[in-house]
């Protein structure tokens, strides 16, 4: 990661800073704050980290790093680190839930339009011809909608006719 300075942070967009503050620095509660507040919080965190390193030998340091080996981590992830060399924001592939009728799965379709997703997943999800209506998070959307991380997409399957 590049050296964290005030100038470096000011060069970032607010969206990038919001991602950084959560994912890189683990500081909660700031994603809706102003840019200057986020920058101050990151710098404070960076500086406190440096002090902790500097006082590593001191028993009075409040920043204690545990050296106990991690034996297990239990979590549910939807993102996969697929491009570690890329810039921040492009390192991971996020999968989102797409369903059509009884078929359902998590697919790497963030950033793709609904029209593209329908074609891309037509066989996998058995999407009927005629490309029916799509819904995102319970709301009807048109084919130009771009899927975002956290979306839940449903392609409406026509009802069974016979009985």
């Amino acid at each position: 990661m590049a050296k964290i300075s005030k100038e470096y942070l000011e060069g970032k967009s607010i969206a990038e800073l919001r991602r950084m503050v959560v994912h890189d620095f683990g500081i909660p509660g700031l994603t809706k704050k102003r840019k200057s507040v986020i920058i101050d919080a990151i710098l404070k965190k960076v500086n406190s980290g440096k002090k902790a390193v500097g006082k590593g030998a001191s028993k009075s340091s409040k920043s204690v790093v545990s050296h106990t080996p991690v034996e297990a981590i239990k979590m549910s992830l939807e993102s996969t680190l697929t491009n570690p060399g890329n810039h921040f924001g492009n390192k991971a592939t996020t999968k989102i839930v797409v369903s059509c009728g009884a078929a359902k799965g998590k697919f790497a379709v963030t950033g793709k339009s609904i029209a593209t997703i329908k074609v891309f997943l037509a066989e996998v999800l058995n999407i009927p011809k005629g490309f029916p209506q799509a819904m995102v998070n319970g709301k009807k959307v048109d084919d130009s909608y771009i899927a975002k991380s956290g979306d839940q997409i449903e392609i409406l399957k026509p009802a069974g006719k016979k009985g």
Partner: protein
């Protein structure tokens, strides 16, 4: 709470067995009405449950009455039409829609929209897949989407209800898989069990199944705001 089972073909003939057997050994004291204008014929034997030929509602009613003596079962031996729908469906009913056309589904859904309290459980299938929809109104308010809200093919059906069809049209029917009928009936019974035992309508308003993919998916959808 009275129960109406509309359509006694592949889905309805199975569902009526499940519902009546369950209710016969419960404390249920309401009326069960079986509704169908069609007749059981030899060709129906491959996927419909019946022991007597003749009008489906009449023969199924006699058969179930003889086996489940704690229940009050009435046949209504006509198709559901605009003229008789108010006789068939009333406030407070649980209505199972097991018909084979979207025109009748739309008729029932639209009529239910005029009632204060009603629960509609509608099932349908194609060859190996199908769905069950749950439409509910309570105190005059729609609490689950209607059968047409998310289904333009039901809102604007391309088929006709059986009372409007000729004998030739009625005789022509698309092939159906017995297991698809049974799957729809069973899922409708699941929904009924949830409602009967808890008094609440499930938050999921539609359940899809696909025998070929061995999968079931229950979907929660908001009631569309007007």
């Amino acid at each position: 709470m009275n129960i109406k089972i509309i359509g006694l073909g592949g889905i309805g003939s199975m569902l009526s067995e499940l519902i009546c057997r369950y209710l016969n050994y419960s404390d249920y004291s309401g009326l069960i009405t079986l509704v169908d204008g069609k007749e059981y014929k030899v060709k129906n034997s491959e996927r419909q449950f019946f022991t007597q030929f003749g009008n489906k509602a009449g023969s199924k009613g006699r058969e179930l009455r003889s086996r489940f003596k704690n229940l009050t079962i009435d046949p209504f031996t006509e198709y559901v039409t605009d003229k008789n729908i108010s006789e068939v469906i009333q406030n407070g009913d649980i209505v199972f829609v097991c018909v084979d056309n979207h025109e009748t589904r739309k008729r029932i859904s639209d009529y239910a929209g005029t009632l204060m309290d009603v629960i509609i459980i509608s099932g349908g299938n194609d060859w190996t897949d199908g769905n069950v929809q749950i439409y509910s109104r309570k105190g005059g308010v729609k609490i689950r989407p209607s059968l047409t809200d998310y289904h333009p093919e039901i809102e604007d059906p391309d088929d006709r209800s059986p009372e409007a069809m000729s004998c030739e049209e009625l005789a022509k029917s698309e092939p159906q898989l017995f297991f698809a009928n049974v799957s729809a009936a069973l899922l409708m019974a699941w929904v009924f069990y949830a409602i009967f035992t808890t008094g609440n309508v499930p938050k999921e308003s539609e359940i899809y199944f696909d025998i070929a993919q061995l999968s079931i998916n229950a979907v929660e959808r908001p009631v569309p705001q007007i």
